[in-house]
Symmetry: C2
Subunit: 571 residues, 2 copies
């Protein structure tokens, strides 16, 4: 209490504060005004507004001072970065707090993954709040590294930095009242329960909301978002690297409902974070589109802090953390300076925070078993037609095609002429030896193979290739790297990025990761693909809950009816 009393004495003006931000145009998201203010700061917190004595005075000369921005829903693994390198990417953009769902870590490492995330997100220039992954594994149709039940969630829910239960993607399970799913909602009682229900409407959506789901970030259509908002769901306006819904949803926002909206970026590649931006990109975008700047800042700050109950975040007022963004142009928001708990952590796009000591890495997770290349052969067995997965550029959904395969020596092989390439998924968590083989159209590789240990949601190894030798080389290289992304041709590694942390995340600095990603994309393009983000596309080909056809370590999956299906089409 001594410390509190000292701060109160400073607030009363009896002792000098550490810092005074003089002559600010304060973006006050609480009173809904921009007003002049001098803001005193002590011990990382705002003390008060007024003419205070201070050890250090920072004259803002009428620059704007806003609370740091908050991302309402993000999977930090999608950046391929550790939390501390992720901070390096987003802090210069004005981000001060994140609500994250460590869904991928949890699929690979279970509770250990969540504990690693809790540990590795401490003491950074961004505060992280964690939603407990609710759908591990995502389905029974692939072999994940772990399984989390409601009882597991209860073990961790009380932690102060756990904000609730993450997106209940098994929305059918929820609206049908499956006990295991309702138990997960119950486990989050008193905290926030996030939803994920793309396209869900009408009575089943009513049931989903009734079960206790209070947010959604999957609306792609305006009327879908409006229906969810009417039903009391907090709307996370998403602008990810691939999922870009902001333009569609903008007309939803008005003065009477914006309190129920937040920005979220969900999945975002490191290059996009650095070059296009983060939540600041959303703020710029909506202001250009005509939303009142005050509303934009509220959506980017206090609304999210309130929904997720991030106490003392999202506004500039006494007792709130001194997380500030200094900027000069309301119509083209660009952070000039960023402060975390009163410390300057970025200026003119340059990251200035010290990195804390590295968190010990979790156990290695590449644990594969297969019988060399012969596991990847597919006997034709007289079948004449096969199902192949067709990629839809810029979308996560796939189509199923029926084609006559190319057969050599009684085995079905890749056919580069018709862009039918072999796709292999190898279980990598428990050395079960499970291998799924199928075929895919859309990569247009003429040579070599691309492999990834990022493969939603179970994150087994997924490889696409023109020949079995390169497919095998790629897998061997991923084993060596303890997970990663690799482009191989003629038995030679053309480019790679090791992802030794759970096979999902690099242990390298931000700029190296961006550089390696560029190298990988260049190598893949050299091998013939014209996909903008071939490794991201590859990583989604195992995603069994999304239509139409997928491949997991358990084989080909009809992801419309969520069941196994045969490679060979009925004649």
């Amino acid at each position: 209490m001594r410390n509190v009393q000292q701060k109160l004495a400073i607030a009363r003006g009896e002792k000098p504060a550490e810092l005074l931000f003089k002559n600010a145009q304060l973006v006050n998201v609480l009173s809904g005004e921009i007003h002049p203010a001098d803001v005193a700061v002590e011990d990382g917190r705002v003390i008060g507004f007024g003419d205070y004595m201070a050890k250090t005075v920072i004259d803002l000369k009428d620059a704007y001072l806003a609370p740091s921005l908050i991302d309402g829903h993000f999977h930090v693994e999608s950046s391929l970065l550790t939390a501390s390198e992720f901070a390096r990417a987003v802090v210069p953009h004005g981000t001060g707090a994140m609500v994250i769902d460590p869904h991928e870590y949890a699929n690979v490492l279970g509770l250990d993954g969540i504990r690693y995330v809790l540990e590795s997100t401490k003491n950074l220039a961004v505060d992280f709040f964690i939603m407990l992954p609710s759908c591990v594994p995502a389905t029974q149709l692939e072999t994940a590294g772990s399984r989390l039940t409601a009882d597991d969630l209860k073990l961790m829910i009380a932690d102060e930095r756990i904000a609730g239960v993450a997106e209940l993607m098994n929305y059918r399970g929820v609206f049908l009242g499956i006990e295991s799913e309702l138990a997960k909602i119950e486990a989050g009682k008193g905290k926030v329960i996030d939803g994920h229900a793309p396209g869900l409407r009408g009575k089943n959506l009513n049931a989903y909301a009734l079960a206790g789901i209070r947010s959604d970030h999957e609306s792609t259509e305006l009327e879908e978002a409006r229906e969810k908002l009417r039903l009391g769901m907090h709307i996370l306006l998403r602008e990810g690297s691939t999922e870009r819904n902001l333009d569609h949803l903008l007309p939803l926002i008005n003065a009477h409902n914006s309190a129920n909206c937040s920005f979220a970026t969900d999945d975002r590649l490191p290059g996009d974070l650095v070059h296009e931006g983060h939540v600041d990109h959303c703020v710029r975008k909506v202001i250009v589109a005509g939303i009142a700047p005050m509303t934009a800042f509220q959506i980017a700050t206090i609304n999210t802090a309130r929904h997720y109950r991030l106490r003392n975040f999202g506004a500039i007022a006494p007792r709130y953390w001194a997380d500030f963004v200094v900027f000069d142009d309301l119509k083209n928001f660009t952070a000039r300076q960023v402060y975390k708990k009163g410390v300057l952590v970025a200026e003119h796009g340059k990251y200035l925070a010290k990195s804390p000591e590295a968190t010990p890495l979790p156990r290695s997770t590449m644990n594969v078993r297969y019988d060399a290349a012969k596991d990847f052969t597919v006997k034709a067995n007289g079948g004449t037609k096969i199902k192949i997965i067709k990629i839809i550029p810029d979308q996560i959904v796939t189509k199923q095609l029926i084609e006559t395969p190319k057969v050599e020596n009684g085995e079905i092989v890749s056919d580069t002429a018709r862009d039918i390439l072999k796709l292999v998924v190898v279980e990598r968590h428990r050395a079960t030896g499970k291998v799924g083989v199928g075929f895919v159209r859309g990569f247009k590789l003429k040579n070599g193979a691309l492999a990834s240990s990022v493969a939603h949601d179970a994150h087994n190894v997924v490889v696409v290739g023109t020949n079995d030798t390169d497919i095998l080389s790629a897998i061997l290289q991923l084993e060596k790297l303890q997970g990663g992304l690799v482009a191989v041709a003629d038995g030679e590694v053309k480019a790679e990025l090791g992802l030794p942390i759970a096979g999902l995340v690099s242990d390298k600095p931000l700029d190296e990761v961006i550089q390696h990603m560029a190298g990988l994309n260049a190598a893949a393009h050299a091998l013939g693909t014209d996909l903008a983000a071939p490794f991201m596309i590859l990583s989604f080909l195992s995603l069994s809950p999304i239509p139409e056809l997928r491949l997991t370590d358990q084989g080909l999956i009809d992801s419309v009816y969520l069941r196994h299906t045969n490679l060979f089409a009925a004649a």
Copy 2:
């Protein structure tokens, strides 16, 4: 979980709901729209919107359907009614939930008083959430029935219906960092901490907010409210029986900040509740003043539910309680029907809810000791000038005057000609025998005495009278009644209202209380007063924290400097 699953089946449309409110114009405070909807209800909760089967269909024929209203801060004792009779007064006005501070019960009965309130507010047609009184006793300058420390608050804070810690009226203690006061804030950690800081501005207000205070209902001036709002305090726009701040504060509200505002009525007499209204009166008033109806309803519902974390209150959406108001005119809001958890509880102003079984009353509290009338005599002792309390009509503050008293037989006596009347306060909790005697101007009684066991904040017995015989009769009558209000003349009771529950609240029905209050006021007027609410004025004359001069059982109080003072003025 069975029950949840059954409700989900109804939401999915597989089974009929209990109720369907068809053809509503739904006041959707979440999406900020009024839109047509059919609303299904089961087991007291909203199930969903849509074309549902239902056992009972209520065709609203395009009438408006809004969530029931919520009062953000109220002392239910001020109505002189038990909770169940209070419900009778406010439910027909559309009130569905209350945030109450049982400050008066706690001053008399301590934790037992709060337990009585928890018990007696169950299962009513209004839901009650309770803030734990933080200032019992209000000061050391009078003898209260109890004392609550932070440790006491901790005993009760976990209860689901305890929303937090009530108004920290000792605002000096808070901004000065007095440990006992900070400990009370700490006791409320994780719940809501209410403020009370009339006129506090500038650095001391910064300190008050910094200590963790997140609301205020005492702003009387616009700029004061604006400053508090900027500092992150939720603004309770007050419209009580005497404290009427709504008109002054209206210009504060705009689309960007209304989420941080609620309505509160603080103290309201039973007649005002019935005739003028409750929160509905605030809604009407602000709409007439030009506030958008949607904003008015949000201030009256969801904003308050969110601030106090009243889960599933304040909106109409799946999982929320089916607390509805049906009405016909947006510009002159008048509840036609009121539903509580799907049950019709009022129609056309008529209360329809069943009263639950009466809660056992708390122990009796009238415990006085005095030595008949001679305790009330004041020897002149050669003093020539005395301090007298001057009432300011329609305000709580008093003034101090210096006058020459009327002396008879060496004793200072009431002087009706100059309107200087004797005022007596008798301790009534612990039979300490403490009696304070002073003089007051403003009542203009020509005969008799008025007495009250409601006397803020310690609720000792306070009597004003023209002669000691009637003063004594009045006290004797209050003893007989176990507390109450009484008007006496010539040794005869002219009118009375027993308040046997803690000496604060009647055990009688609403209409009887209103009738007795009218009788008391008429009797007081017949005795010569022209005050509109003489008993309310009387009840504030012991309020030691409010300037300038007060009388408690400990004697005359200089309430500017918060210290004892002598009746006799320095020559």
